[in-house]
């Protein structure tokens, strides 16, 4: 039976501000899951803390709303325990690249097969608009008493440097394109990072919906030019087609260079994709083959009478005097 969009909606009251960019991302995730016809009970959405991290409550799959900055390690534990589950991680840019930056970087080294979506609005929404790690130096949103005195992180560059094997950017008001990116990210064999530009109408009056639509960005003829464009349509190919190290290096450099484009002409789409890297599950199975055939969540641990199933006779033998 095909999954309908309505099957993925919950009764929890959604308390995001009217016009919040999070709605577009929520819709895109639900559309992607419906189109992929996932099993909701074999899917989990894991989030951190913040406005966007309330998202699991609005999606009728398993949902785990965790601690500020810790969505990734919680999700990592879930995926390690049950590698057959579809795991989607969501959170804000402060959650992922401020308080959770250590996990953002180090999870890149593991290449677990899951998708991480950052709702990137450049502010801390739920605490009333402080500067987030992606807000540029000198910018003053209406929520700030004075201009930002920190430089911004480049999420794409950071993901590339950390070893993510699929790196992309979407825009929350281009829901159809975003939905397609989410499907690609879920299908990617390895760790996928999706940075989503998400206007915050309440606190960020700079990177607004109108800004991305091109307000004040006029061509010579006075026509308004949108500030985003789709890389693939401009002939960009981020996919690594062979495991030739030279090609990998070329594609990594290309993605990093591309990540500098931001502002009046901001690329959307897949910066980089490499499926030739082993996943963390493969690596664990390298020293414990049963991890693949009998992963932790699938294992029985006791006989019906409670006797343990693990036989430690061999371990005890090693300790005999």
């Amino acid at each position: 039976m095909a999954l309908k969009l309505s099957d993925l909606k919950t009764s929890a009251h959604n308390d995001w501000c009217p016009g919040c960019g999070d709605f577009g991302i929520l819709n895109a995730v639900q559309m992607a899951l419906a189109e992929m016809n996932v099993d909701p009970s074999n899917t989990v959405v894991v989030s951190g803390v913040g406005c966007s991290s309330k998202v699991p409550h609005f999606i009728k799959t398993y949902g785990v709303h965790t601690l500020h900055g810790r969505a990734i390690p919680f999700a990592t534990g879930i995926k390690l325990a049950n590698p057959n589950m579809e795991v989607i991680v969501e959170g804000g840019d402060g959650d992922g690249m401020g308080i959770g930056a250590g996990h953002f970087v180090n999870s890149g080294r593991r290449n677990l097969d899951m998708l991480y979506i950052i709702h990137d609005n450049e502010v801390y929404g739920l605490t009333k608009g402080q500067a987030a790690p992606t807000l540029g130096l000198g910018k003053k949103t209406k929520s700030l008493p004075s201009p930002n005195i920190n430089q911004s992180i480049n999420p794409i560059m950071l993901a590339m440097a950390s070893g993510y094997t699929w790196v992309a950017r979407g825009y929350s008001y281009d829901v159809r394109h975003l939905k397609d990116l989410i499907i690609k990210g879920i299908r990617h064999k390895g760790y996928a990072f999706l940075d989503v530009l998400q206007p915050c109408p309440t606190y960020n009056d700079i990177q607004s919906k109108e800004y991305w639509a091109g307000e004040g960005n006029l061509d010579a003829a006075g026509k308004q030019l949108p500030r985003t464009y789709k890389m693939e349509e401009a002939g960009y190919d981020g996919v690594v087609h062979s495991d030739d190290p030279a090609e990998v290096e070329r594609k990594v450099q290309q993605a990093m260079l591309k990540s500098f484009e931001f502002g009046d002409r901001t690329p959307l789409g897949v910066f980089y994709q490499n499926e030739f890297v082993s996943t963390y599950g493969d690596r664990l199975a390298g020293h414990s083959p049963s991890y693949k055939t009998n992963p932790p969540a699938a294992q029985e641990i006791a006989l019906p009478d409670g006797a343990p199933l693990a036989n430690i006779s061999r371990l005890l033998d090693d300790l005999k005097v």
Binding site: D7, P40, F74, N82, S288, L303
Partner: protein
């Protein structure tokens, strides 16, 4: 006090094989049926600093170390300077006479205050501040001195095996020291050789050369010192010396038995050894019905499982990954020490709020901050009881010896899963790094209890499952993420039965009472035998209250005090939360004189006892110099208290 055991010490530069020699000594003694207890002391350093290992051997049960050194085996100068004067009168010192001219002021790793004290002693005795001088001072104080020409012995052995490399020969120094010790004790040479061969079994050539070094040392001692040392050590037929184990290994094995299938860790002393053991043994035999049957491991078609062992980027990730595993229905744990545990506080609260089973093994070491990373302390009890903001239930379980650590590890997972509550299992460093012989463990005694664990959901309404459903006990049936038949939510926010955020005051009351009430339920259900040990006679002159690794030293001291006509009983609290209030209060109300013994400054458990039972314990014995309490120290302290000569807070100071 009459000791009928033998205390042997070996020291050397860290990284020079001190551990190896102690293991060979201990295993050789254990394979001769003797009981062994070994304690390792080392600096937070990899190579260069001084480390030493004390191995106590006895024909009867021993559970602790003593301060007295009966025999000191050395092969370099620093160990002689640091420990020669600890050797008792009529004890023995083995040393290399080539070291005689080495001067104290040439050893940069000896602390200035230690150096000054030694210089003063030597100068008072009119002796030079070199090895020759300190050895002479020890001789004057009654020690027997046994010079062993290490280099001559090693060159002879090397010549026989065509080995001329000095560094290769020097790697056998420690084996010569061990063999010379056993030779002086008249111990069976073949048992020592077998122990050496077993230790080097993966390198047959090295094994043979080392076995020959044993023979050469025996020959030398036989020719020069036959019968000169009066203490004899001989193998015996023993029925209860079966295993030789170390703390970390016990916990690791028990985790596999308990069904733990996800272990996370960030490297930290002294916890990492446990995770490394698990990683090295991550394939698990799942033929539990054949437990203990030696033939079973030969069955080829056996089903196997796997424990995922993951090194995380920090302890915040370690604990939250483990909680993730717990949400997915997998018994999960993380192992750490004080600094790492400090980082886990917020994660613990999440597990408490979301009723997730997770076990944190806390190997406590000297704090605060980085503290004394390789030394001993029971300073984390109060923190374990309170870590995290707000109020949530947690179990705190503390084991007193290696056997207890094994069975407690299985119980830890049972309590945690049955009551859906995080559990902190404290294993102090003194246990983690001590080696001991023990009687056989019986894995068939162990039972796994998963509590209200569901394999499928049949109660979902509109596809939604009430994970936090109201129940009379407060424990709701739990289905792992991924269970068919429904979905539910988790959040660190206060939540309703489905796991959605709720700030409703009525719901809040219910959820607080549901979570906290589980501790009352556990208090009613967990038998007292799993929570408190009570040793000694009902009626005694002194009642000792303590917890954790002091257990062995207290029990050994109790035996000596009994010989002196002083009766002692001992309340060892294992499950500190929920605290066995009624039982402990009853025991204390009958006590004549109560003594609290703890390895920390403020007597943390004694504070908890007072908080829970309203019974004050005024007489304390504490130690916080980073070294564990010895049975001799506790014996001395209790005797002093019995005789009425002790201050209210008696601080023990021994240690090197």
């Amino acid at each position: 006090m009459k000791r009928d055991d033998f205390s042997w010490m070996i020291g050397g530069v860290q990284g020079s094989g001190v551990d190896t020699s102690a293991t060979i000594f201990a295993r050789a003694a254990a394979s001769g049926g003797l009981h062994v207890f070994g304690k390792r002391e080392y600096y937070s350093n990899i190579k260069g600093e001084h480390s030493y290992f004390q191995v106590r051997v006895s024909k009867g049960t021993i559970r602790s170390h003593v301060d007295t050194v009966d025999m000191l085996a050395t092969f370099e100068e620093e160990t002689i300077f640091r420990h020669a004067l600890e050797v008792r009168s009529e004890g023995a010192i083995i040393y290399d006479p080539d070291q005689d001219p080495k001067r104290l002021d040439q050893i940069p790793t000896v602390e200035a205050n230690v150096r000054a004290a030694l210089n003063a002693e030597l100068s008072k005795a009119g002796l030079s501040a070199d090895v020759k001088g300190i050895v002479e001072l020890a001789r004057r104080r009654g020690a027997h001195i046994y010079p062993i020409p290490y280099n001559t012995i090693l060159k002879d052995v090397g010549a026989k095996h065509g080995e001329t490399s000095l560094s290769a020969l020097q790697r056998m120094l420690n084996v010569v020291a061990v063999a010379a010790s056993f030779a002086l004790l008249g111990y069976d040479e073949e048992v020592v050789k077998a122990s050496v061969r077993n230790h080097f079994r993966s390198k047959p050539k090295v094994a043979e050369m080392n076995a020959d070094a044993v023979g050469a040392a025996y020959d030398h001692v036989g020719q020069k010192y036959a019968g000169s040392f009066s203490y004899r050590l001989s193998p015996m037929k023993s029925t209860d010396v079966k295993l030789f184990v170390r703390g970390n290994t016990m916990v690791a094995m028990a985790k596999e038995l308990a069904g733990c299938r996800l272990q996370t860790y960030y490297p930290i002393t002294p916890a990492s050894d446990e995770s490394e053991y698990l990683e090295a043994h991550s394939e698990i035999q799942l033929d539990g019905a054949a437990q203990g049957d030696p033939q079973a491991s030969e069955v080829a078609a056996m089903k196997k499982g796997s424990i995922a062992v993951v090194q995380s980027e920090d302890e915040i990730a370690a604990v939250t990954m483990a909680i993730g595993g717990g949400l997915a229905g997998v018994r999960s744990s993380t192992s750490t020490s004080g600094p790492g545990f400090s980082l886990m506080a917020e994660g613990l609260g999440y597990a408490g709020m979301n009723e997730v089973p997770v076990v944190v093994t806390l190997y406590s070491r000297g704090g605060p901050s980085t503290g004394l990373p390789t030394r001993h302390e029971q300073g984390d009890l109060r923190f374990a009881l309170h870590a995290g903001h707000g109020e949530f239930p947690r179990f705190v379980l503390a084991s007193g010896d290696l056997e207890e650590a094994f069975y407690d590890t299985v119980r830890a997972f049972n309590y945690s899963e049955k009551y859906q509550t995080p559990l902190i299992h404290i294993v102090d460093k003194a246990l983690a790094n001590s080696d001991s012989t023990m009687s056989a463990l019986d894995p068939t005694k162990v039972k796994i209890d998963r509590g209200a664990f569901l394999n499928e959901i049949t109660t979902a309404v509109n596809g939604e499952f009430k994970r936090f459903q109201h129940t009379p006990t407060g424990v709701s049936p739990r289905a792992p993420l991924g269970t068919k038949g429904g979905v539910n939510w988790y959040t660190g926010d206060e939540h309703d039965e489905l796991g959605h955020i709720s700030e409703d005051p009525v719901n809040r009351d219910y959820m607080m009472e549901k979570r906290m009430g589980k501790l009352d339920l556990a208090d009613r259900e967990i038998p007292i035998s799993e929570r408190v040990n009570f040793f000694g006679p009902e009626d005694a002159d002194i009642t000792v209250v303590s917890w954790g690794s002091t257990k062995g030293a207290i029990l050994d001291a109790m035996e000596w005090l009994k010989q002196d006509g002083i009766t002692v009983n001992f309340i060892q609290v294992r499950l500190v939360n929920p605290f066995p209030t009624e039982y402990v209060a009853r025991l204390l109300s009958k006590a004549k004189r109560i003594v609290g013994i703890e390895m920390n400054y403020s007597a943390q458990l004694i504070g908890v006892v007072r908080e829970r039972t309203c019974i004050p314990i005024e007489q304390l014995v504490v130690k916080y110099n980073g070294r564990p309490m010895s049975s001799e120290e506790i014996y001395g302290a209790l005797k002093m208290i019995y005789e009425g000569n002790a201050p209210k807070k008696l601080v023990l100071k021994h240690g090197a």
